[in-house]
């Protein structure tokens, strides 16, 4: 019996000792934000890749490519499993609580926050970590990225407005109207341009850029080339500021033309077609740990039959349109799709242009049309047009010029972003008189609402009136 007592006591003592065990268990799946510390070359590389990765993630299938394509009556998404692709685009309005109305917001602000984090960390970097030129280059790069993200937010929210993030990371800032946001983006780009200029064109960014920024005509690792991207984006923003239907600023057409000419490095009609594909791109890898296929490869996407009906004979861009199985549903039917939408490995790995020179040429043509510079505009339009096997065209009125440039943009930039919706909106052509109705109710959406999550955080239930 004594033996049992000893065993029992030993068990009790051992068990009580086990209670001394330290309960700390460290996180083992991910590093924490504290792990990075101050900005160094090594952490800059990680954070820069993170920012650009978020930027790429923002170019999503629906709110960047699909939904504005649907608004512009270029695209259908016929998905029996998800009626809202039609119900809340062609058949109704996007709901701020669902995917159709909550896009083009969170991801962009996440990328802006990530850029702001780098800029703040740069101010606290060890003194000798970066040269003054490198520091200026870093500022210019991330300010340009911020401007790109903010442009994309207002591009999809238009008259609803957007907000401007500040360094106070939890501050909820007012919803500003489109002119204020565009002015902010323009100023940010100019500020970035000043930084980049200070850094000097010969400087190279102190972090490696993805191949989408180095392999398509220009290597944007060079500050000199990145300035061209900055100027191109500034020209685009200034053009849309100039033509803004709610707050037109015609004087900015000339500014835009000048900036776009700087970005292109050639005058009207003088941009060689071989340069059209130049620009930064999003590159994709379908599979592996990267696992980011190109979002266009979507089997439920179809093109509006009008896209094929309207193409002119001999236009070699016809190759972007392919016939496939018919999708029918919700009163829609189509057998044609974008060649890149077929789910093949090649399409999943295909790059997607961010701002190609071809778009800049057509933007310049648009600015020239609005500025009454028809000769230059015709040169630019024909620069693109003749490259695709079409005869040169001409026009003598703004209306004809707009139609001419709309045609070229539709086929040159098919599935490269919301450009057509942007243009139809500003031209006042996004309506039933221009397009045949697709469904009985057929609203013509032109802007996403503020997402439900943003409204909730502001204790709102509907979009607030934006402040100028």
């Amino acid at each position: 019996m004594k033996r049992y007592s000893t065993v029992a006591l030993a068990l009790a003592v051992a068990a009580t000792a086990a209670c001394k065990d330290n309960p700390v268990a460290n996180p083992i799946d991910n590093p924490t934000a504290d792990a990075l510390g101050g900005l160094t070359h090594a952490t800059l590389q990680l954070l820069a890749t993170g920012v650009l990765g978020q930027d790429r993630a923002n170019a999503d299938a629906f709110s960047y490519l699909g939904e504005p394509g649907i608004w512009a009556r270029n695209v259908y998404r016929i998905d029996a499993s998800e009626p809202r692709f039609v119900q809340e685009t062609l058949g109704g309005n996007p709901d701020p609580g669902s995917f159709s109305g909550s896009g083009a917001w969170n991801g962009y602000y996440t990328a802006i926050r990530a850029s702001n984090t780098v800029l703040l960390a740069l101010d606290k970097a060890p003194p000798a970590e970066f040269t003054p030129a490198e520091a200026s280059a870093i500022r210019g790069f991330f300010r340009t990225v911020k401007a790109l993200e903010e442009w994309r937010v207002i591009e999809m929210h238009d008259s609803v407005g957007a907000t401007i993030q500040t360094d106070d990371q939890y501050a909820v800032n007012p919803i500003r109207c489109k002119p204020a946001i565009l002015a902010y983006v323009a100023a940010l780009l100019d500020s970035a341009n000043a930084d980049l200029t200070t850094a000097g064109g010969a400087t190279t960014f102190p972090f490696a850029l993805p191949s989408g920024f180095t392999s398509f005509g220009r290597n944007y690792s060079s500050v000199a080339n990145f300035i061209l991207f900055n100027r191109g984006l500034k020209g685009k923003v200034d053009y849309y500021r100039a033509i803004d239907r709610t707050n037109p600023t015609p004087a900015l057409f000339a500014t835009a033309i000048a900036e776009l000419t700087t970005a292109l490095g050639a005058g009207p009609g003088a941009v060689p077609p071989s340069q059209f594909s130049w620009g930064p791109y999003y590159t994709f890898v379908a599979g592996g740990s990267e696992n980011t296929p190109n979002v266009i490869s979507d089997s439920k996407v179809r093109l509006n039959p009008l896209v094929l009906d309207s193409i002119q004979a001999g236009d070699t861009r016809r190759s972007k349109i392919v016939t496939t199985t018919t999708l029918t549903g919700f009163g829609l039917s189509s057998s044609i799709t974008y060649s890149g939408a077929t789910a093949t490995t090649a399409n999943q790995n295909a790059p997607l242009g961010i701002l190609r020179d071809e778009e800049l040429v057509l933007l310049r043509a648009q600015a020239e049309i609005e500025a009454g510079q028809f000769a230059n505009a015709i040169l630019d339009v024909n620069d693109v047009r003749t490259n695709y096997g079409l005869p040169a065209t001409t026009f003598a009125t703004v209306a004809d010029g707009r139609n001419a440039v709309l045609y070229e943009k539709r086929y040159s930039l098919l599935f490269e972003g919301p450009q057509r919706a942007d243009d139809l909106r500003e031209y006042g052509m996004l309506n039933a008189t221009y397009h045949r109705p697709e469904t009985a109710t057929d609203p013509f959406n032109a802007a996403l609402p503020i997402p439900r999550g943003e409204l909730n955080a502001r204790n709102l239930t509907v979009n607030p009136a934006c402040t100028p």
Binding site: T32, F99, N291, F330, T441, N463
Partner: protein, 988 residues
Amino acid sequence: MNRIRSSVFSLLMLAVFSASAFAQTRRISGRVTVEGSGEPLNAASVTVVGTTFGTYTDDQGRFTLNAPDGPVTLRLRRIGYIQKTFPVSAGPADVNIGLARDILQLETQVVTGTATTVSSVNAANAVTVISGERLNKVPAQTIDYALQGKVPGAIITQNSGAPGGGVQIQLRGVSTINASFQPLYVIDGAIVDNSQIANGVNAITQAAGGNFGSSQDQRVNRSADLNPNDIESIQVLKGPSASSIYGSRGTNGVIIITTKQGQVGQNSLDLTQRFGTARISNKIAIRCFSSGAEVDAAGFDSTGFGAATNKCHDYQQELYGQHPFNYQTIASLRGATAGGTNYYLSGLVQHDGGLVLNDNYNKQSIRANVGQKFGGRLNLRANSELIHSLTERGISGNDNTGINPYTNFSQTPSFLDLTRQPDGSFPKGLAVNNTSNPFQNAVLIKTPEDVFRMLGSGSAVYDFISTDRQKLDFTLNGGVDSYSDHTRIISPATAYVEQVNANPGTIVVGDANILNATLGGVFRHQLSASAFTATTSAGFGQVRRNADVVQNTGRGVFPGVTNVSTATQIFTTESQDIVKSNSLFGQEEFLTLSERLFLTAGVTAERTSNNGDAQKYYAYPKFSASYRFPFLPPKTDELKFRLAYGRAGNQPLSGKYTFLTNIIIDGRTGYRSSTAVGLPGIKPETTSELEGGLDWTMFSGRARLSATQFRKQTDDLLLTAALAPSTGFASQTINGGQLVTHGTELELGMTPIRTNGGFEWVSNTTYSSNKGKVTQLPVPGFIPASGSFGSRFGNAFIKQGQLITVLQAVNGCTALNAAGTACPSANRILTFVGNASPDYEMGFSNDLNFGSFHFSSLVDWRKGGLGVNLTNDYFVGGGTLADTARARKMLSDFAKGTDVWLENSGFVKIRELTLGYDLPSSMSSMLFHGHAQNARIELSGRNLKTWTKYTGLDPEVSNFGNQPLGRFQDVTPYPPSRQWYLTVNTTF
């Protein structure tokens, strides 16, 4: 902390050394029998009141025990019989005592601590105790199904009709938004895991997009593995007033399972064979097209309509029309030896087919429970169970690839034949995004989930002191629950649904390895005096959990190959979790005033690695009192008032850290800050509960009313507060806010008829209702993380002053568009449309026994509660709902801003029905060559009939599986079934 330790120690020492001196003893012997029949009653506990002397009766019902000199009172107890006290005068004694059967379960031992119990006569909490017999009246695939309708205060809801489980138990309403929301399962002292593990079917359904599993994988909570047949009893501690001893795991209540043990005088072999089948019990009313013009008008292609031999296919019957052959074979052996060994050995083989070809659920388990006494002081026990289950649940729930059968049916005009053709081929589906055919998917797509699970627990009890006045023992209890959940999704390239993919042919291989280890020790001291009995307990506990879940998805796999490494594209994900917790506790129980007053006070102090400060102990106190009223109204046997208070916690599962999110471009890794901001000082939620009630026994034990009111308050809610996304962050973890739930539980047990001729009617009615309100919220209202499909359909919403279970949706329009056909987005009225939780739930259980015949029924009534029937959206949008006028109106109303998908999800269900017959002993003796003691044949059914206004397949379903809030989403679920069984049970 040191103060707590020293207080507990002082309490213990005081109790030990305050014991009175030993008294002179004598022997009392006697016999215990069943009142009425006079049959000897074995294994009955006989104790001397006011002392620690006690023993058990043998096979002949006889006992002998020591007792103090002078007059004493014996207390006799046995499970299934009403306890009795019996005075014995001084001097030698040989007594005969009869015990009455406890038909209404008036007498049970209720858990009050890790090693302490009290008779339900004195219990201060409304703890529900369910015997194994009651649990297993009708065969159930899993233990959760078997509990439905039997626990007042519990809402037990099945997520779909798919085989293999997936059931949510919610005790006393919602207690949390983001922390653990399921009750804790404890088997024989060891914590048992009840995780839901996604099988990866999302990789082919794309319900949530991506390449891995999601919350929409129609997951099974793993309490499904447990074998209901091994259960002796289940105790349900419904809230913190009873469950505070479980610290930061006790908020949602605790389900304490005790498995069967061998006992002296019960040597028996029990064999049960069950055969059964199932039928689809409800269908969507799908449109039958009567002309090609009608087909065209609905937007379909009518080619082939004229030639179709069957213009009105019943796709649901064609696919879900299987009549599976189900069976359960159960064998158990239990008994004890003269050498102090007791044993219970059991085995189970179970097969349940699904409604679709190849869907099924299979389970095998073996259990060995062995106890051994060493001398008079050391008692060892080891319980172990090995379980294997294999489940094929097929495809159901939300999808975005057209793979779900109901998605297909909603897009297919009724004249098209989708079934397998005589040449073995399948027609291509008309569908949708691709040519998916559900009949082909049922044949080609495999979804096996293989679980191997080992449950083991052991205890050692050592009596240090055992006299007539006091007893001191130490219990060491440990347990391990370890399982591997191996899932595989095989979707071959030959399936039409794969052929639109860039790399057709998908394989998902998942492996989850989960380990829960529990260790605890408790000193228990009992001091018995004529005026009182004081029980002091103090001890420690330690819990560890390790979880590692890996999923590999391959796309582009050659048909027939099941090796993921051969895929063209391979995707991998892993999540790991390690949690360690330590606790100390002390408790004092005091029974006095002739055992009328029972007082308890205790505290558990616990620290866990999930808290921000892993070293800090959090205290969870409890106090309770019960009083058996001495002056009774007429016809009253017993009237007890009770009041209990307790606090329990809910430890954070995440949210301590702000992680960096990994992004890769061109093979280069990058990081950005997560949009979820962590809280370094995170602490557990605490829930305090005050429970009061009465237990009233009348008419000589033939009626019992138990009434309970409770108020539960959760503070420091773990909130994932939405930040304005424009800040760059989406959410921030905070501790804050308050949730208060009030509830009522009633239980009325009666034996309205009991005749000498052997006819007996036992009725039990339960009622429960509760309402939880968000009383404080330090952040703006927000949609909780639980899945939803947006406010156009309906989502949960957290807002101060609102019910925690409120449902928010767009419902109304300030002004329609000019044509009067649609509501512009800006004009939609977002409002709170009602409560997703039922108003109340009632259970009606009736047992009729007439000689050898037995009939029992269980009806479950859930009143009210809103559901979001999105299954309707598919058929309404597709133009394939039979009631076309209704579909048109729904579409029109929806466009105008009305939420037409909201429906009352109340129901009345016949959960269980059994008709049993005890074979005459002559017949059972003849059939089993004289070896059988008794044999019974039963015909039973489960979920036989549902009455509901809900127009979906089943008002209980949840597309997102178990979740704390918002489980009301109904998206093309696996249809429900009614099940029948024929059972033969024999005891040798």
